[in-house]
């Protein structure tokens, strides 16, 4: 037996194990939600109840009970039970309170984005080369309903924003009408875990947001009903333990939020989205009409070919603010083979050949493809970051999400109307042998959806956060540029899209300027 006894023998073995132990120690704990501390609001907007609602026509259309008087036994009992619950609070409860904070709309927007990402997967081909589409009547049958593509997601975010905003305007109206002070003000011995605010507590705005959000998203993402219910329950529990509310604040908020969301959902039921995904004969006739008109047509390039593009009739869905889509439709794109087309194609070929790391990064940063929150979701994240930065209260936050997402959906509707009107082929179809670093989506090229969505979103964010104008405008341009780097859009798609998005957003801004919040 030969045993080597060089001095470094054991050293080497020990070093190796040490490396493993050390690296094991830095296991990766990655952020699963946006980290921010609950904050004091920069403004309470005590006239918020007078702001103009988007969809509701009467601020008292959904009634809530008159709250029990401050000196009533009913209210005193509520205080006692809230205090009892607070006194038996665990550390987990405290974490949950901080997670939801005093502006839970941030979290609900986050949940919305997460569900959009979760459902943003295109149906795969069947073994026989056909495709099955999700069936809203049978959402749990694969492919699951919905496929949360950008048009679908833009619409879901818009309804969420509108329901939250309209419900909070009503909540503000009732808050100041009934003027019930926050629990910690009614009883100075109550332990209160969130920053204070002078906003009256009945109904609870957090409960309004939870109920409205849960209601809208249960309709948009029917397989997530249980998950949304859990989230809503957790949020309401956090409100009760925060020291701001008694149970009846939450119950009233819940019924108000739910009631308004139901009315808003009636609009959704009849907005035309149901027929946006047309059958093949209609899709073919749209394609042939474009071919007759312009001499070109877009065709899906996948194998097996997807017989119908994504939502050809999304352009027929009811807009929020744009009165006439034809008026915002950009002019006809360059003819295939024209010198302008060749110039754009050459740019793409040149980028594909010599792409820089920076260009690649921009393309990927904005890719927002499958399994992501979509381009509208990307802009919701920016909106959310600015809401936190400017310490907006829930009502003013809802206004940001409502107007931005209405503008984004209108931008999408307008863009889709344009896409299927011109039916312009993508670079991979019109440029022989062309390949890029991004997957080409299943709809025509002109105009770029990213550019249109982004310009509209940037316009609203600039209007609301004027100090951020430079930044958001830069982002919109970068988003438009990113599609060229990715090889899925010509420069003229992006430029026309930016212009179109700005035009669409102007209608939304006109509306916002007249809502009484300025």
């Amino acid at each position: 037996m030969i045993i080597n006894s060089h001095f470094y023998k054991s050293t080497i073995v020990l070093t190796m194990f040490a490396i493993i132990m050390i690296t094991q120690g830095c296991e990766k704990d990655l952020p699963r939600f946006v980290a921010f501390e609950p904050y004091s609001f920069s403004n309470v907007d005590n006239n918020g109840g007078t702001w103009k609602q988007v969809h509701m026509t009467n601020v008292e259309q959904i009634k809530i009970d008159i709250p029990a008087a401050p000196d009533s036994d009913v209210y005193k009992n509520e205080i006692a039970s809230a205090k009892a619950a607070i006194s038996s609070m665990t550390t987990d409860d405290e974490e949950i309170i901080q997670y939801w904070g005093n502006n839970p709309i941030i979290r609900w927007n986050e949940i919305a984005r997460e569900l959009a990402a979760k459902y943003n997967l295109i149906p795969p081909p069947n073994a026989d080369g056909t495709y099955t589409l999700p069936d809203p009547a049978n959402p749990g049958k694969f492919p699951y309903f919905p496929f949360a593509h950008p048009p679908y997601a833009s619409r879901a975010y818009a309804y969420l924003g509108v329901a939250q905003f309209d419900a909070l305007i009503a909540a503000w109206h009732y808050k100041y009408k009934f003027a019930r002070p926050a629990l910690y003000k009614s009883d100075a011995t109550v332990k209160q875990s969130l920053p204070t605010s002078d906003t009256p507590s009945y109904p609870s705005d957090g409960a309004v947001i939870a109920a409205a959000s849960r209601e809208i998203f249960s309709a948009m993402f029917p397989l997530e009903k249980e998950y949304l219910k859990e989230k809503a329950e957790e949020s309401k529990e956090a409100l009760l333990l925060s020291g701001l509310h008694v149970q009846s604040d939450i119950v009233a908020g819940d019924s108000l939020g739910r009631g308004i969301a139901k009315v808003v959902l009636q609009r959704a039921a009849g907005d035309g989205m149901k027929s946006a995904q047309t059958p093949k004969p209609i899709s073919d006739s749209i394609k042939n009409a474009a071919f007759t008109r312009f001499g070109w047509k877009w065709t899906n390039q996948e194998t097996p070919e997807r017989p119908v593009g994504l939502t050809p009739f999304f352009g027929k869905v009811k807009t929020w603010s744009v009165p006439d889509l034809v008026a915002v439709r950009p002019p006809v794109p360059p003819a295939i083979g024209s010198s302008e087309f060749i110039k754009a194609a050459d740019e793409l070929k040149n980028i594909a050949k010599n792409i820089t790391t920076d260009q690649r990064k921009i393309a990927n940063w904005w890719s927002d493809g499958f399994n992501t929150t979509t381009p509208p979701g990307h802009w919701n994240k920016f909106a959310s970051d600015n809401i936190i930065k400017y310490k907006y209260n829930p009502l003013r936050s809802a206004r940001v999400f409502a107007y931005m997402n209405m503008a984004i959906q209108d931008a999408g509707i307008s863009c889709w109307e344009t896409k299927y009107y011109y039916h312009y082929p993508r670079p991979i179809e019109a440029i022989p042998g062309f390949k890029g670093i991004l997957g080409t989506p299943n709809f025509p090229s002109y105009t770029s959806g990213h550019s249109t969505f982004s310009a509209a979103a940037a316009a609203i964010l600039s209007y609301i956060f004027p100090n951020e104008k430079r930044q958001v405008d830069e982002w919109a341009i970068e988003a438009a540029e990113s599609r060229i780097y990715g090889g899925i859009h010509y420069r003229f798609d992006s430029e026309a899209g930016l212009e179109q998005g700005r035009k669409v957003a102007a209608f939304t801004i006109t509306k916002a300027m007249a809502d009484g919040a300025n």
């Binding site: 080497i12 990766k28 990927n364």
Partner: protein, 309 residues
């Protein structure tokens, strides 16, 4: 003759499928003191089916995915029981169909040490154990979050491997090894991604993994030919599944089992030269391509300066 049997460069690990690291020294041979070995290895990895989670499927928008690896290696015997090995693969990927462009470039620089703490020699045969440890890291700004075209996982990897080998005097041997591959994180070019829920960061957790391998081989014709058949199992300790019709991402749990056959030939005419050829196939897997890999290589080793006796 014994001196001729130097490093047996790693087809085992080279073997690893498509998206995995190109190599780990998992053989059971040592070089002499001051001996240098230069190797060039080529590997051609192809698949036309892959596991989307646990579902084996094809994708006509990928067709056949080809991954070519050219790997120069350098190994040096510090002592007879302590060797250093380095490698730097160049990788290129391409799909036969679809509109997505492939990638090419330098992948990860790897440095490994191998140490033989124990050897038992008897008339009937010998039993030896080895420990190898290594570290690799990306040397070009390739994007790991570009599956299935990405050049690699874009992570640092620390590996620790234990190897045990019994060789009968007839030249037949049996070798087993187990390795722990600790992987750090990789950077995506987006600050939000979905992997079993939301992640608000550009950082992706690349699951650490273990590999176990078993090989049966023999030496023929006065040790001028080495033949070997092996089985490898690799499993990740964590990670998510690729969801239906989604692309893979570095966070996935990538598992596989595979079998391989290899041949190495030491021509008698030129001392220090050898040729290698290998074939391997993935039998089962998860979030990984069903690869068929052919490889070939040439190695040349020589004494840099005579060891003092």
């Amino acid at each position: 003759m014994k001196n001729k049997i130097i490093i047996f460069l790693v087809l085992t690990a080279l073997f690893q499928t498509a998206i995995l690291k190109a190599q780990t020294p998992s053989d059971a041979l040592m070089m002499e003191k001051n001996e240098l070995c230069i190797a060039l290895i080529y590997q051609n990895d192809k698949w036309d089916e892959y596991w989307e989670g646990t579902l084996l499927r094809d994708n006509q928008n990928i067709g056949v995915l080809t991954r070519n690896t050219f790997m120069p290696m350098l190994a040096y015997g510090v002592t007879k029981k302590f060797n250093i090995i380095t490698s730097l693969p160049y990788v290129e990927t391409e799909a036969s169909r679809g509109q997505m462009v492939g990638a090419s470039g330098l992948q990860d620089f790897g440095i490994f040490i191998k140490y033989q703490p124990y050897e038992l020699k008897k008339e009937s045969g010998s039993l030896s154990t080895f420990i190898s440890g290594g570290f690799s890291l990306p040397v070009s700004p390739y994007l790991s979050d570009y599956m299935p075209f990405s050049l690699g996982l874009g992570t640092q990897e620390f590996s620790l491997r234990g190897i045990i080998k019994y060789e009968h005097k007839s030249g037949i041997y049996l070798r087993g090894s187990y390795a722990y591959l600790h992987r750090t994180t990789t950077e995506a070019e987006r600050d939000y991604y979905y992997a079993d829920g939301s992640h608000y960061t550009t950082t992706m957790d690349v699951p650490s993994a273990s590999t176990a391998d078993l090989a049966l081989g023999c030496w023929l014709l006065n040790k001028s030919i080495q033949l070997e058949a092996g089985y490898i199992q690799q499993s990740a300790f964590s990670g998510d599944d690729i969801r239906r019709q989604n692309a893979g991402q570095p966070t996935n749990k990538m598992d596989m089992t595979s079998g391989n056959a290899r041949l190495r030939y030491f021509p008698n005419l030129i001392k220090g030269l050898s040729f290698m050829a290998g074939y391997s196939e993935v039998f089962s897997g998860r979030n990984i391509g069903k690869s068929t890999i052919i490889s070939g290589g040439i190695t040349y080793q020589f004494i840099l300066k005579k060891a003092q006796s």
